[in-house]
Symmetry: C3
Subunit: 468 residues, 3 copies
């Protein structure tokens, strides 16, 4: 693999020369547009403190479960990658494991992003390989000590206009406040309200979480009423700090409208530790309905990310914790599940509901039809395993003929890998240009409309869907 | 968007010049063949009466839920589109809303059809836009008053040989009879037996429908025996009026063979209004079995259209009625569900069973394998949200390697939008040419066989599958 | 259809000239590599005895349910194809039916393989057609009487290095032993342990099978302990005869870890013929867990082939037996189902678990993510209805971006049609070259890495996944 692939100006564009030429023209229109990242997992404190990044492995490998998972699949235990706080290996050892495993990444989205970062962010002169492991480690390490590689400078160099983080409802949001108050920092760094640990009864610390939530933010009210009040209050706290959306990492897309007495009874049962699995499902589905109701009131865009079996390999979870590469998707169904919410709020003024999926079958079958009728519904961009070149093309092909180009959310990088943000957005823009170029070549969209559409997709769509 | 896209001779054909050339050659072989439309929703009375179409909006926008849904998704209430009989807006106002929303249709199947109609049927000189809304409304309105735009003349100009309608079992079929008896009208307009409202217990007026059915056509027999007799009689009435198929818009593809006593007991329970959800499902599944049995006897081709959650948004249904753009597909499974019918009739002489799906996953997984073994089974053409260029290519790719080219139904326009019929069939022919051209270019099918195949697909397949 | 299509050097390669050129270069690197066939259904006795093949129909048509099914779909009863031992028709009559039906095979995988065999194995000079039926029958018949068409010579000419068969656990494996001991035969012919009939309670002769198994191989132990012991012993017998894998044709991918007492109790209940459907499912799922446990111990690669509704058409099954063309896939889910096995053995040293599917949706959603984390998991090659050109491209597109190129099993022909083996492997290599060529043209993989990858995919991958 040659690092120079990432320098190819036509990378990811379709091979057919006529279509490529059209795609190249469309890409030019958007390649300098600022990055809008309305959903991701970068820590705001990183930008607030602006400390130098520690070392190549700690920056690029150990915390990125997209990367460690594939090395693990080749038989390398996670402690040799310093996953989950392990310090059994040194960062340099981790980098050597990575360099050895690098050929495994050919053809993958992660490999594409990393290669782009090596070329465009770190300007590496050597290809990654076992032989160059130490040299590349040292080269990146050296870059990281330069002032130009501090988080705030990269934020500026990456041309990021908006970056949303994902935050606990009880987070003080002090880093966000500090950044907003800091006249020397120009970007918008917005919090996102993510209440899973307070809504999901089966969360290991749900009872304590709820106790703390009510105590902190319930205005003195207790029980279910205090719980609802506290959630409303904390959402307002997020709104006050610039949040535009609330994100929900649910098991399934199920929603349900319970009457107050039923909801209260399940809530009390759950706090006593007596909720059954059925109770749990009903309560969580009900709380999704409640979140939609609150979104209609406070204006936070509601994003739903269902369908991942979290922590599939229990021994790994127990040793290394969550988000360590073994969340595995499963089939989901939106049509019946989301109906209670859409029944009541699908045409509600100002309500934006963005539906994501890891199950591609849902795109043409359910999400495009839903977004093609309900003003509230936007089709979430291809997410997680699906934000890759071929998968993004399949997405556009699956939804456009039913829902057109104006009913999807715009690209979401959803990443905790800060340095991969430009590569991800660049890849997405290249794929949008490729898809549109084909439609132009097939005389399905005029070239002038394609030029408008790509700017809309890259720039206007995320602003529209996320109210930016 | 330029209307002239619809004038491009190579529209929808693959971009690669070598493949496009082959496709163009194949397309030429079928572009002048007559249209065979064995399943659709045009009203026979329109052709019988041959009245002029009222105005552009009433013809092209208000009744077409493909079109109104996407405008609605952009936030326009349906009464501003005169949906469901609303007269809150004038036809001209509706057209203005449509013109404003026109950019939303880029990339969609509906946009493609409309653009084709504007170019080839109405020969509009202006592109649709907010600015040209009144001019285009007036231009079409003026065309509609010309004698050449009466339904019968368009039928002839569209080169339609056969047009099937979809009709209530108790319909007198007088329009069909009148057309058949009219020596001045050359086309075949055939009724289709569609008994959903008499088979589906959960239909709001099922009890009254059944009462009327038995009274009208039960030969004096009452109860379940009268019900079955009446259905058989009405099917015969349709056969006598030229019907070739019976269509079934079922919730799921479930079929079930109950013994007579069980069926009778469920039927009686349902007429007393006491049927449970389980009873309902069992009875409907049983009646699908009965419909298959009758098809074997009377020769009507059986078509099955499952997997749409009808009237998903209850408030819209209550205000505007059914077929207003919020029927949303869901996952279906045919393999086990259709087995009771195939067990008994899958190899029955002369039985044709055409299976449609809105869930694309079923094509390669279930329908192609079923149609590749059972002489009775044909894979239904891509339907509803799937009769779009990319989706039709995915369909051919999904089924051909297992079932070949002779086990699918041929194109079905399934439309109530009369003026869109030529555009839909033309698009389908272009896609078939595109798919075959790729196989030719990849040396998988010879050019001479491709020439035979495209004629078979366009012309012979629907005649074969629908016994025309 | 021209037989000469099979002689086109660029067959199956992408049409775009630039991509085709790259694909051609990649194909050249692997077209002379030996065939490794780690999973299939050829009978070892055929090679051991080396008898001439009887006649064209008995060799190529009657036993190949891929072929007979599509002829059957056109209305030809299976007895006219000598299926299931029927002798109602002569081989020549069967061939005539086939020749008449030959146009139905255009575009199908089976048609592609047959055309390749006619060109490259039998060197037919005439195209297949009704008119040439007798001439082509005679030409092949004549070839079959030549010494060069004996099984062992073909094995050598086909350049087969390894051929795995599929065998009953109580098979003596004497043909395998004889071949291994025969210095005049150079290939490796390996047995595969396939215990479905001993694990699946609903198998019609399960009770007798189990009795015989315990009696034969239980070391005198009886009951559940003897059953487990006997399975372990027979697996060892297979290992001693060169087996590298155990294959499991299960209904669903469900696995379950029961404690010994529970398993024993279900086993005893089943032997008394008292097992319910729930018992059956639980016991089968448990035995999958046991098979995994044994694989960890004895090193046999575990392959899982779920999701086919066997013998869908009961009347055909009753008349002609199993494997007669009406096994129909259905939707499966691996994520939760396979978890019990992966929980305990997903990272076990030396455990290889290859997961196949007939439900394509599982590739991107479940199998690529699983294989991208668990060292034990390999994604099984596209199987059965999916080992066709377009389907194989969809497979690579679906898994590569998540799992890369090193986590799949390599091609599996899975065939009982001996003479189709070269055509199948050749088609697979052409598709791998096509997929890689596109990635090269899109600057996603360098040309030099693509050259390494295609050799790995064709040669190293099956050796790695199957421990050859």
């Amino acid at each position: 693999m040659s690092i120079s692939l990432a320098a190819e100006p036509d990378r990811l564009l379709p091979a057919e020369p006529g279509v490529r030429k059209i795609a190249r023209g469309l890409l030019e229109l958007v390649s300098d547009l600022p990055i809008i990242s309305p959903h991701g997992h970068v820590d705001a404190a990183v930008l607030d403190k602006n400390s130098p990044f520690p070392d190549p492995a700690t920056l690029l490998i150990s915390p990125d479960h997209y990367v460690t998972r594939l090395i693990h699949a080749s038989g390398v235990p996670l402690d040799r990658l310093r996953v989950g706080g392990s310090t059994a290996a040194s960062p340099r050892d981790v980098w050597r494991e990575f360099a050895k495993a690098w050929p495994l990444f050919d053809g993958t989205a992660s490999g594409y992003w990393l290669r782009s970062e090596f070329e465009h962010v770190f300007k590496l002169e050597h290809e990654i390989s076992e032989a160059t492991a130490d040299a590349t480690f040292d080269a990146i390490q050296s870059r990281l000590s330069e002032p130009g590689f501090r988080p705030r400078q990269l934020f500026k160099d990456f041309n990021i206009e908006v970056l949303a983080t994902t935050d606990d409802p009880l987070d003080s949001l002090e880093s966000h406040a500090a950044l907003a108050a800091d006249a020397t920092f120009q970007g918008r760094v917005l919090p996102t309200f993510r209440p899973d640990a307070y809504l999901n009864i089966s969360h290991p610390t749900w009872i304590e979480n709820v106790d703390q939530l009510i105590t902190t933010a319930g205005d003195g009210t207790t029980g279910y009423a205090g719980y609802i009040r506290a959630l409303e209050n904390r959402r307002q706290h997020f709104v006050d700090h610039g949040a535009v959306s609330a994100d929900h990492g649910v098991r399934t897309p199920q929603t349900l409208k319970l009457d107050r007495a039923e909801a209260e009874s399940l809530f009390n049962k759950a706090r006593r530790g007596e909720a059954t699995e059925t109770d749990r499902d009903a309560f969580e589905a009900h709380m999704m309905y409640e979140m939609a109701r609150m979104s209609v009131q406070d204006g936070l865009v509601m994003t739903v990310h269902p369908g991942s079996f979290r922590n599939h390999h229990l021994p790994t979870f127990e040793k290394y914790g969550a988000d360590t590469g073994h969340d595995i998707p499963f089939a989901v169904n939106y049509t019946e599940a989301i109906r209670p919410v859409l029944q009541d709020f699908g045409t509600a003024e100002g309500f934006n509901l963005i539906l994501f999926t890891l199950d591609e079958t849902v795109f043409s079958r359910e999400l495009a039809p839903l977004a093609g009728f309900y003003p509230a519904v936007y089709v979430g961009a291809p997410w997680w395993f699906l934000d890759a070149p071929d998968a993004m093309l399949r997405f556009r092909s699956a939804i456009t003929e039913t829902a057109g180009f104006y009913r999807s959310s715009g690209f979401i990088d959803d990443t905790r890998a800060f340095c991969s943000i430009p590569a991800r957005h660049d890849a997405s823009r290249r794929i949008e240009a490729s898809f549109l170029a084909r439609l132009v070549a097939e005389h399905r969209v005029s070239e002038s409309r394609a030029a408008e559409l790509i700017v809309d997709i890259v720039d206007a769509a995320p602003r529209r869907a996320f109210k930016l």
